[in-house]
Symmetry: C2
């Protein structure tokens, strides 16, 4: 069981990020291109610094892994994984689908996840053994037992660059009923909420998905890498979330090319 004050503090961290982002929503964006060619704004950096300070002050013995700065005590038993603005491109464009992602891992596995969406004022909280809530109300993923009727999402076709990624993208695109784009982590929140059946991504990092793991699994869904393995601090760049166990099995088969 996760200590209740861990959840309360995690919510307080999300309050901090939301307050900073709310002041910036209608401000002009200053965009810098990072060495990996992805864009970043001073807001991403400001939010991550504030979250790091809050975690360090509250849990000095815990580790921190964030998107914008170097890791700290990453071999601790408890490690916080922070994405100050997941969906920086949406944030830059003024689209409302970005969120702050906060995960707590224990011995490498995520046990608590928060996704806070500042524009829509929605907060998903997934806590192992407790369930998943959206703005305090318990939510559940929905049944969908075959890919052929699934409503699917991926953020951008441009992330699928290698031959094997492009082939996997083409296979799953042809297997589902609908495929939409651009919802980012918001679409994963809607898997937990019972509006979307399948979300799949490549070219992502642990800060993009570890917070989603408790949110999806405690709402009754399944989230894994493309091989169906659990997501941990050591996982790679590809992940998949489904609201239904059977459709997840089918999606793993399709993505792996079996």
């Amino acid at each position: 069981m996760i200590p209740a004050d861990f959840v309360a503090h995690a919510n307080r961290f999300a309050d901090i990020s939301r307050a900073i982002i709310h002041k910036e929503i209608y401000q002009p964006r200053e965009v810098t291109i990072k060495s990996n060619f992805s864009p970043v704004t001073p807001v991403d950096q400001k939010v991550e610094r504030a979250l790091r300070t809050a975690v360090e002050t509250t849990f000095p013995e815990h580790g921190i892994v964030g998107e914008e700065y170097d890791s700290c005590n990453a071999d601790s038993e408890y490690v916080w994984v922070l994405d100050p603005i997941d969906g920086t491109m949406a944030f830059i464009a003024g689209l409302p689908t970005f969120s702050t992602l906060i995960a707590l891992t224990w011995r490498g596995s995520p046990i608590l996840g928060i996704m806070d969406s500042p524009v829509t004022r929605e907060r998903w909280v997934g806590v192992d053994g407790t369930g998943t809530t959206l703005n305090g109300e318990t939510i559940q993923s929905r049944a969908c037992n075959t890919l052929g009727v699934a409503f699917a999402h991926t953020s951008s076709p441009l992330y699928f660059e290698t031959d094997s990624d492009v082939a996997a993208y083409d296979r799953i695109r042809n297997a589902v009923q609908f495929l939409i784009f651009g919802g980012g982590c918001h679409a994963f929140g809607r898997v937990a909420h019972g509006y979307v059946d399948v979300c799949f991504e490549t070219a992502h990092d642990i800060h993009d998905y570890l917070a989603l793991v408790p949110i999806i699994t405690n709402a009754g869904g399944v989230i894994s890498d493309w091989q169906g393995r659990p997501l941990t601090l050591s996982s790679g760049t590809r992940f998949l979330a489904c609201g239904d166990r059977e459709v997840h099995r089918q999606a793993v088969e399709i993505l792996c090319g079996n």
Copy 2:
């Protein structure tokens, strides 16, 4: 000059659609597939019926063209063009980027446009000769004088199906700095707001874009078909909006393959 009461009534119509949609945001979606293979929900239909009743009662001599029902008096001098939920796929998925679009055309050309985003509680109003507002504040598109630094958007790569559409998509994808997906009409609102430089679409209909015309042009931007021609009740399936006149000229060249 557009009669002030036309603008007041158009805002009242948007109040009607927003109130209906707000009640439905967290309800389950009932999805039907239309004869053109696009999905529709009872909410799309309910909103359009309410808007039609409001327009008919207020302006009995005006025409109405809507997405979900047959046109009525479409040869009138004034015609209202209604899209009850632009971005039905986003609405089905629980993503916040759908909007209600309400255009008023005079002799075939749009002179007033409203885009009302129920989840983000944002309303864009563009009125010829008056300017464009977002929640009552005047907004302006931004300068961007070359495609190579442009932030661009299109809703879905899957809409580009014909050889010439795919070729145009590939050309513009390679010409811009960033290309994102899935923002729907919200991204066009951000062209008017100075956050996005270029939005382009194919496989759309007049109800998807006529409301955007006064919103973009009265904010200082340019919107047209891919050949650079003005959008009217008789326009086709492809359109393009840019915040800057020079980048619009370049985008027309690229899309036309010159």
